[in-house]
Amino acid sequence: MGFSRYWFIFFLLFTACDLIDYHPYDGRLDSDIETNLNEKAIVRIESACKTKDTIRFVMTGDTQRSYDETERFVKHINQKTGIDFIIHGGDIADFGMKKEYEWTYDILSKLNYPYVAVIGNHDIIGNGDHVYKKIYGKENFSFIAGNTKFVCLNTNAIEYDYSNPVPDFSFIREEIYDDKEYDRTIVVMHAPPGNEQFNNNVKDVFQAYIKQLPELLFCLHAHNHQLSVSDLFNDGILYYGCENMSKRSYLLFTLTPDDYTYEVVRF
């Protein structure tokens, strides 16, 4: 009996390496997890959309601890045609744990369309921001789809101290003055100005700054877990907020050369 038990233990040792977990916050990723996902997705998006004049993209977010619904979302999206890319508005994880990133990664990697993910406040908890940077890349990034530039920003200021510039004005400044070719801009963030996560001392400065981006069309955010369209600063710039994944809806935007439309899709 003891002999067979030994073999059972050896069997476990060599076949169950996935079960070895050092700590929920160890940041040690499975070897099959790709890194720099956003950068790789951006290459796909930019090359596929280069000659297109109509762009369709999905805005969703807050998949935190809604693995069943996220899986359902992936199956639903993969059945649709004509989508160019998907934006995840942040809160990939719920407790900032490495395993949550891996679980969400596994589900979202089955998407037939490229997706980019911005960083949410729950993604920063513990050592989550380090895991985010490893899997997805920089916390502030931009890309160009057709004639539209998407500027994606970390706005979860309360998670950091003042040694981390959130929002990063020098990054926005670089985006204002870069020499890439595009006609209009969309700003994407997790928490909108005025929210408890945002550095509200600079929310008016932030608004004035992002309005210097060429032809700012509108802003997108997640975090509030409810649908919202609001002119936050009464200056004509609309902020669109999507529901969280567990409510099983997303925003589908269609950008035409001179205009845009959107619809709320439930799945």
Partner: protein, 213 residues
């Protein structure tokens, strides 16, 4: 006058001795008993074994000491663990308080016995200022409803024990064990999602125990 005083002092000393000797013998006994008690209290605090454990969501390697009691059906461990540096973060030290319950012991032969079930709970804390028990003041009250620093784990496992020298040192033994565990946050994620399989939220660990006393 002086001599009379001296003799009086001497007599009263003798008188005192006569009365105190029996009491002091008794007092000596009481004192001994108290010393014995004191010693045995401290002796009970001497760890009975050392344990080294690999993985188990409490560090890559954890090591520490522990105590058996309740006819060896219960064990309490105190372990220090190390989480190596990954994903651009520094390494971290953890501490674990672990309670084991071992209901059955099956004697296989003279040297080996097998324990088909070990189970229990352990609490793990990180020594790292970036992790908190209660939300730091910067958050609105009740913003996050969990602690990032302290985790509660539960486990089941099995183990096999080899007795080194039953005649000379009857307690001395080496135990090999494995455990499957999960922690509070993994479990919360698992119960609300059929997508998550046991292999997603279970953690496997191995260890060895050196029984000394």
């Amino acid at each position: 006058m002086i001599t009379r005083m001296k003799s009086f002092a001497f007599k009263s000393f003798l008188f005192l001795c006569l009365f105190l000797v029996p009491f002091s013998i008794k007092g000596q006994d009481v004192y001994d008993i108290r010393v014995e008690r004191y010693k045995s209290t401290w002796n009970n605090l001497i760890p009975r074994y050392t344990k080294v454990q690999f993985a188990g969501s409490m560090g890559m390697i954890s090591a520490g000491v522990g105590w058996n009691y309740g006819r060896d059906h219960w064990e309490t461990d105190v372990l220090l663990g190390l989480v190596p540096r990954y994903a651009d973060r520094h390494a971290m030290v953890t501490m674990t308080l672990k309670q084991n319950y071992i209901p059955w012991r099956i004697t296989l032969n003279e040297k080996f016995f097998f324990e088909p079930l070990t189970c229990g709970l352990y609490m793990n804390t990180l020594f790292d200022d970036d992790f908190w028990v209660k939300n730091p003041d910067k958050y609105p009250s009740g913003y996050y409803t969990f602690s990032t620093r302290v985790r509660l784990h539960m486990f089941v496992g099995e183990r096999i024990t080899f007795q080194l020298n039953k005649k000379k040192a009857p307690r001395k033994s080496i135990t090999l064990f494995y455990e499957l565990s999960t922690c509070d946050l993994y479990l919360i994620s698992a119960v609300s999602n059929s997508y998550l399989k046991p292999s997603d939220y279970l953690s496997l660990s191995f260890g060895v125990k050196f029984q000394i006393l």
